[in-house]
């Protein structure tokens, strides 16, 4: 479990990160979303025991940053922004080197190297030098390196960057497996689609956390949820306007051709009642779906950068 309390990092006069507070539970995937320079990498570097915070505290599985940093590094796996492999060495030699740095030896090391080369589908390239690898192949080896020592806490910076869709899915599935094994996982990404698919909660940040919520919670951010009800039959949507006005939980309604757009405060609980009322009044409903903002819209609204080009979606 990661507990972050008021973390701050200054580089001379530049404050990279301030007032960062959040928790990541065991078996949770927490996404850090933010534009370039938002402080995602600095946050991860502090939590991975690589750099010291200027202020604030954090514990990683009970080990405090600072005095416990070496222990934190031992239980942490990190996929850095750039794969950072040793190009003259083979994939196997790269992994074996890092395995040794994490204290693995002998058959335990060999088995782990073979297992993770298999997990990232690189077994057949295990004895080739990294220098000849594509970007995607390097990324796979770097992922294997981050997981080799079975870390309890994992930081993944753009984990599927450079991977083809099939390999990206393999990685996402494997990360989901790690979640089921109780690992705490932090994913830094620009890829909103990936964040939505992978993360249990997402923190949108720009120097500090602007909002933390589930992907669905973020999508609902700042607006009433709208439920779109498509109708079919003799009675058009305009004939139900009075009914909508009489229902206490409906906060607004609009008529569109063949459909009603109904605003609700709590769609999961209120939608069944709404549907019952409409059916009771003779409506023939063909579909009901909640319309919410996309994560991209919420993200852009929060970071205040609509139109910025560095959003990779």
């Amino acid at each position: 479990m990661i507990v972050v309390d008021g973390l701050r990092k200054d580089f001379k006069k530049l404050t990279a990160v301030h007032d960062m507070s959040f928790t990541v539970g065991d078996g949770e995937i927490f996404g850090l979303l933010g534009p370039n320079g938002a402080g995602k990498t600095t946050t991860v570097r502090m939590l991975a025991g690589l750099i010291s915070p200027t202020a604030g505290r954090a514990t990683v599985n009970g080990h405090a940053l600072g005095e416990g940093s070496q222990r934190i590094r031992a239980i942490t796996g990190i996929l850095t922004e750039s794969p950072g492999l040793h190009e003259k060495l083979t994939a196997r030699q790269n992994l074996a080197y890092y395995g040794r740095l994490y204290g693995m030896r002998g058959s335990q090391l060999r088995k782990a190297v073979d297992r993770y080369l298999g997990v990232v589908e690189m077994s057949e390239h295990a004895d080739r030098r990294v220098i000849g690898f594509s970007k995607g192949m390097r990324q796979k080896v770097a992922i294997a390196r981050a997981l080799l020592h079975e870390p309890e806490v994992i930081y993944l910076d753009e984990p599927t960057s450079g991977l083809d869709p099939s390999a990206a899915k393999t990685v996402r599935d494997f990360v989901a497996t790690l979640r089921s094994l109780g690992r705490s996982i932090v994913v830094c990404t620009h890829n909103l689609d990936e964040a939505e698919r992978l993360c249990d909660r997402i923190g949108i940040m720009r120097g500090t956390l602007l909002r933390v919520d589930t992907p669905a919670g973020l999508r609902r951010h700042g607006r009433e949820a709208t439920v779109r009800i498509e109708l079919n039959g003799a009675r058009g949507p305009e004939s139900f306007v009075d009914l909508m006005a009489s229902l206490p939980f409906v906060t607004g309604a609009q008529v569109q051709p063949g459909a009603l757009l109904v605003e609700l405060a709590d769609p999961p609980h209120e939608t069944p009642d709404l549907v019952n009322s409409l059916v009771g009044a003779g409506a023939r409903i063909t579909s009901v779906r909640e319309e919410s903002a996309t994560l991209e819209e919420v993200y852009l609204q929060l970071v205040g950068e609509i139109g910025e080009r560095d959003v990779d979606r």
């Binding site: 690589l50 750099i51 950072g84 003259k88 060495l89 080197y97 040794r100 204290g103």
Partner: protein
């Protein structure tokens, strides 16, 4: 300092080095050249009678070897005089390897994943330093031993004693490793400021200049070899330079500084 980490880094660096033929050539070539030239001259003198006119030109040097035949004195002068150049190997080679290693990591951005492991920075740098220094120390010592034995074998066994003098054995045991260490540290510090190995080596080239200056001064001063006092002063001088480099480059032992400056 945990030996396991140092050895892991050393083994990785060594593997990396063995795959770099150009760098290996840079280790072997100067050492062989510095040994081959005087050995060739000794063999030439051995095969030919000395010309009395030529003898006159090197008379002042031969005075360093009283009570021995002029031919052996001339060979002794050549054998011992060229040995100062052996100090160039520990000055040049480790710097080439260290800059290649550090800038290579900088370009590949491979320092951060290593710093993210439980390994401490001094352990990383110790592994790198040993890996950079060992080829030069080994090459220098190997060439030194071969040089003494071969010259003794092709000319006169007394040449071997000239080479394996107390002064030179002390220089090999102390000055060579110290120069190597200085060269590596300077290579690491310079590498942090520049983007490519060639520039780093050019900047670091000033390590070589004092040694060349000493060798040239020695030749024109008519002194055949160093004495023990000069070797010990050299040890102190290089030791001081190591201290100074460590002081200037103390950031190099800090994880955060490496990440922000090198990674």
């Amino acid at each position: 300092m945990r030996l396991g980490y140092v050895l892991a880094v050393f083994a990785k660096e060594w593997r990396d080095l063995l795959s770099n033929r150009l760098l290996l050539g840079a280790v072997a070539f100067p050492a062989l050249v510095f040994a081959a030239i005087p050995t060739g001259l000794v063999a030439f003198i051995q095969a030919h009678d000395l010309d009395p006119n030529q003898m006159g030109q090197i008379q002042q040097y031969i005075a360093n070897f009283p009570n021995i035949p002029a031919k052996l004195a001339a060979q002794g002068f050549i054998v011992t005089n060229f040995m100062a150049y052996f100090l160039l190997i520990p000055a040049m080679v480790p710097m080439a390897i260290a800059t290649q290693s550090v800038i290579g990591e900088k370009v590949a951005r491979s320092l951060e994943p290593q710093l993210a492991t439980p390994m401490e920075v001094p352990e990383l740098l110790a592994g790198k330093t040993i890996a950079a220094a060992l080829p030069a120390v080994t090459a220098t010592w190997g060439v030194f031993v071969g040089y003494g034995l071969i010259n003794g074998a092709i000319a006169d066994p007394r040449l071997t004693r000239f080479v394996f003098s107390d002064v030179w054995l002390t220089a090999m045991a102390t000055l060579v490793p110290l120069i190597c260490l200085f060269s590596v540290l300077l290579g690491i510090v310079v590498s942090s400021r520049v983007g490519d190995p060639r520039t780093a080596q050019q900047i670091g080239g000033f390590v070589v200049l004092p040694i060349i200056a000493v060798a040239v001064a020695q030749f024109f001063g008519g002194q055949a070899t160093f004495n023990m006092q000069q070797v010990l002063i050299g040890d102190l001088l290089v030791g001081g330079l190591i201290g100074l480099t460590l002081l200037i480059g103390s950031w190099a032992f800090d994880r955060e500084s490496i990440l922000t400056r090198l990674a």
